[in-house]
């Protein structure tokens, strides 16, 4: 319990700072934000209206608190270009992104788990070198280029899978899943490479521990030893870092969604950036940071479930 309370308390300053940083974003616009957003041709009335809407005529501290008050009640402001609440825009776009995130993670795990285990168990052999080198390669491929190559091969040349045409899962599950395969592949390769490297080094550390020898001395075979005793211990640091992976993944999805025309959260950010809809940009990055903080919190709590030593308040 102490661990959970402590962990929750630690989140508060992070959330406050995240909100300050997000708030400051609009004020980083060089010159007068309202002028930059509207352009030079805007009427004085429209200009004044936007200034009032953004609260730019009040002192900055007051602006922050009134913005923060709205945020806490779920109001992220109105989109400058679409004139709808930003929160609605975001909640429309999130499901596709969440689906992509889960799909990508599953894809990454399916590759990384066996590859990482094999590389660690057969370490310093060709299996290890090949998979470690492949992982380094996977980390080096630009996401968006991989997405294009995948589209050229699977869609343009062979027409096996669609490269666009996202439909919500609730409308047409089959079409939805078909449209998700390529995006998950294009984003998941890099994530699987990162995951595989982490898993390998974590496994190597655990594999030489005393209790692993005990397990073998009991008569367990290699497979049972690795799956029953090594893997779970090795997963502890991996789970922790895979929480951090979520941040990289959300960033990567910005590009994936743009290429595969998936109306997700990342694409919303890109669209808003080009439409100079800074209120939506602001709301969206706040939500993205919030997602990262929440996922990391959940991961740390999960950590306490995996490792019984945490609950007792002992050890790290």
């Amino acid at each position: 319990m102490m661990f959970i309370v402590k962990r929750l308390l630690l989140t508060i300053p992070i959330l406050i700072l995240v909100s300050i940083m997000t708030f400051s974003l609009i004020h980083m616009i060089p010159g007068d934000p309202a002028r930059v957003i509207l352009g030079q041709e805007a009427t004085p009335e429209a200009y004044q209206a936007l200034r009032t809407e953004l609260g730019l005529d009040k002192p900055i501290v007051e602006q922050y608190f009134s913005w923060m008050g709205k945020v806490l009640s779920g109001d992220l402001g109105m989109s400058i270009t679409d004139h709808v609440p930003v929160i609605d825009l975001i909640s429309q776009r999130l499901p596709a992104t969440i689906e992509l995130t889960i799909g990508t993670f599953v894809f990454a795990l399916v590759i990384a788990l066996p590859a990482g285990i094999l590389a660690a168990v057969r370490r310093n052999t060709w299996v290890d070198y090949t998979s470690s080198f492949a992982a380094l390669g996977g980390m080096s491929i630009p996401n968006f280029w991989l997405a294009m190559m995948v589209i050229i091969y699977f869609t343009v040349e062979n027409n096996w899978l669609p490269s666009s045409g996202y439909v919500p899962f609730s409308e047409d599950p089959k079409a939805n899943l078909m449209a998700m395969i390529l995006p998950c592949l294009a984003t998941g390769l890099r994530e699987s490479a990162v995951l595989m490297r982490m898993l390998r080094s974590s496994l190597l550390e655990v594999i030489n521990m005393d209790f692993v020898r005990t397990a073998k001395a009991k008569g367990l075979n290699e497979v049972k030893t690795v799956l029953g005793h090594v893997l779970r211990n090795a997963m502890i640091p991996v789970v922790t870092t895979s929480g951090l992976m979520i941040a990289g993944l959300l960033g990567g999805l910005v590009i994936t969604e743009s290429i595969f025309s998936i109306p997700g959260f990342g694409r919303l950010i890109v669209e808003s950036v080009f439409k100079r809809d800074y209120v939506t940009v602001q709301g969206a990055i706040l939500v993205s940071a919030l997602l990262v903080v929440v996922v990391n919190l959940l991961v740390d709590l999960l950590y306490a479930v995996i490792d019984p030593r945490i609950k007792a308040g002992k050890g790290a």
Binding site: M209, R213, A215, K216, K218, G219, N221, N233, P308, K314
Partner: protein, 322 residues
Amino acid sequence: MSAILEVKQLRTRFKNDRGKVAVVDGVDFSIRQGETLGVVGESGCGKSVTSLSIMRLLPQNGSSEGHILFEGKDLLALSEKQMQSVRGNEIAMIFQEPMTSLNPLHTVGKQIEEAVLLHRSVSKEDAKKRAIEMLKAVGMPRPEEIYGEFPHQLSGGMRQRVMIAMAMACDPKLIIADEPTTALDVTIQAQILELMQEVKERTGTSIMLITHDLGVVAEMCDRVIVMYAGQVVEEADVETLFEDPKHPYTIGLMNSIPELDEELEYLETIPGSVPLAHQMPSGCRFAPRCSKVMPICHEQAPELMELGAQKCRCWLYAKGEE
């Protein structure tokens, strides 16, 4: 009494950057049914490697030659799969570090149960019953509760009891205990030794007890082998060894134990240290540290010679025959 384990010309080598290095070099000994054999020596003399060789649990870069006959079958000739049905079932092992030898993420009960489920065709409930029974047998208070506890909730002595329970779970014919009490407090040490003695008397299992502590040997063992630099230098039953040690190294070891009833001016130690495996002296391996060294010792390596019921690897006792 027949021998349950016979080790013949065991040679275990490790590969490193410089090539292959023999850490155990031509070791012979046997353990009889129901006997406790002590294996004594300084750290680095190859006693732990010998035990890991028997279990075939050497690190990847280690390999053994020779014969390890367990009830007549050569363990070194078994397939890995056959060996798995020996480990934990016919031969069990207890390790030195109770703090790190148990999996921190599994309950104590599950870890004992695992061995039972692996080697006996029993139901989950029966395995659980067996695990609790074992915990009771090793003197655990509240065995039903301990069954569901994690290693970090137990003290070092308790964890070593769990290790013993785990080792005994399948009624092995031989238990190899590698310094089982070294990491424990002195009072706990005595309790654990007593427990092992009790287990042995009750089940009739043989024990190979590896230790550097001659006090433990005197208390526990029937017979003793003394190892030095990867070889057996002396073998005797425990009374003979303490009354009439032959090898200068054994004598040195004996003299380095402080005795309570003696007023010692100083504690004797053996000068120098165990030679490294890749730079063994050409003659007797103990010669550079030996107080009774003779010219022949530097030239030719002595064999393990039989002196009545005792065996000794030293030129001092070959004189008469020449």
